[in-house]
C-alpha cells in the first residue's frame, strides 16, 4: 500500500510518501494512523487526527473509512486551494 503525505504532514514526516504493508488488523484510516504513528518521533503528527484529512485511491474519505484493498492512501491537512 502506498501512503502519500502532503503539506505540513509531508514536512513533519520528512518524506512525501512510502510503501507499507500494514498488519491484517489494520482495517480503517484511524487504525492505519495509529499503526504509522508508532514508527518514530516524526510520525507523532499522525496522532493529531482532528487536523488531518484523507483520500483513499484518490477520493476523499472520513477517518472511519475502510482501507481494505486500497492501493493508495493520502494523509494531509484540510485543503486550502482556490
Amino acid at each position: 500500500m502506498d501512503i502519500l503525505y502532503f503539506a505540513w504532514v509531508r514536512e513533519a514526516i520528512g518524506r512525501d510518501g512510502e510503501t507499507v504493508t500494514p498488519p491484517a488488523d489494520v482495517g480503517t484510516v484511524a487504525e492505519l494512523l495509529a499503526w504509522l504513528s508508532d514508527r518514530g518521533e516524526a510520525y507523532a503528527v499522525l496522532r493529531d487526527v482532528e487536523r488531518l484529512r484523507f483520500a483513499i485511491d484518490q477520493r476523499f474519505e472520513p477517518i472511519d473509512a475502510s482501507i481494505v484493498g486500497a492501493t493508495e492512501v493520502a494523509i494531509f491537512p484540510p485543503v486550502t486551494g482556490g
Binding site: 502519500l4 484518490q58 486550502t80 482556490g82
Partner: protein, 148 residues
C-alpha cells in the same frame, strides 16, 4: 469538448478561455479569477502544493455536480500550482449558459467547492525565507456547505 478542466504550473489566457465559452452562443458567460494577494510587508510569494494524480479528477467531479444543478453549455476550471507572486492568477472558473442566473450561480458554486473539495494546499513565503502554511477557513467551509 465543452468543458476545459486543467491543473497546471503555467498561467492561463483569460480572454481566450472566455472567447471559447462565448462562442457556444448561450448568451451568458460568467467568470471568476482568483489571484495571489499580498498579506503584508513580509509577504514574498504564495506556493500551491497539489496532489496531482487526484486534483484533476476532483475538479472534474465538482464540474459534474455543477452540471447536474444548472443548465450549462460549457465550463472552464483551471487551477495552478507552484510558487506564485503577488497578482499572479491562481484559479479561473468560467461558465456558459443560456441563463444569466445559472451562469453566475454555477460560477460561485464552482469556486466555493474548489476551495474546499480539491486537493491543494497554500503556503506563504516570507521575505526572511520562512514559510507559513495557510489554515483552512471555517467561512470557506460554511460557504461550500451552503450549496448542499
Amino acid at each position: 469538448m465543452s468543458d476545459h478542466i486543467a491543473v497546471r504550473r503555467d498561467t492561463f489566457d483569460v480572454a481566450a478561455e472566455l472567447a471559447r465559452l462565448e462562442a457556444m452562443g448561450g448568451g451568458a458567460v460568467a467568470s471568476f479569477v482568483g489571484q495571489v494577494r499580498s498579506d503584508g510587508p513580509d509577504f514574498d510569494a504564495l506556493e500551491l502544493e497539489a496532489y496531482p494524480a487526484m486534483a484533476e479528477a476532483a475538479l472534474g467531479a465538482i464540474v459534474a455536480t455543477a452540471r447536474e444543478r444548472w443548465p450549462l453549455l460549457g465550463v472552464t476550471l483551471i487551477h495552478r500550482y507552484g510558487r506564485l507572486a503577488v497578482g499572479d492568477r491562481i484559479v479561473l472558473v468560467a461558465t456558459a449558459s443560456p441563463h444569466r442566473a445559472a451562469s453566475l450561480e454555477a460560477c460561485a458554486f464552482l469556486i466555493d467547492w474548489t476551495k474546499t473539495r480539491a486537493p491543494f494546499w497554500k503556503r506563504e513565503w516570507r521575505r526572511d525565507g520562512t514559510t507559513v502554511w495557510i489554515e483552512a477557513k471555517p467561512a470557506d467551509e460554511a460557504a461550500a456547505a451552503a450549496w448542499s
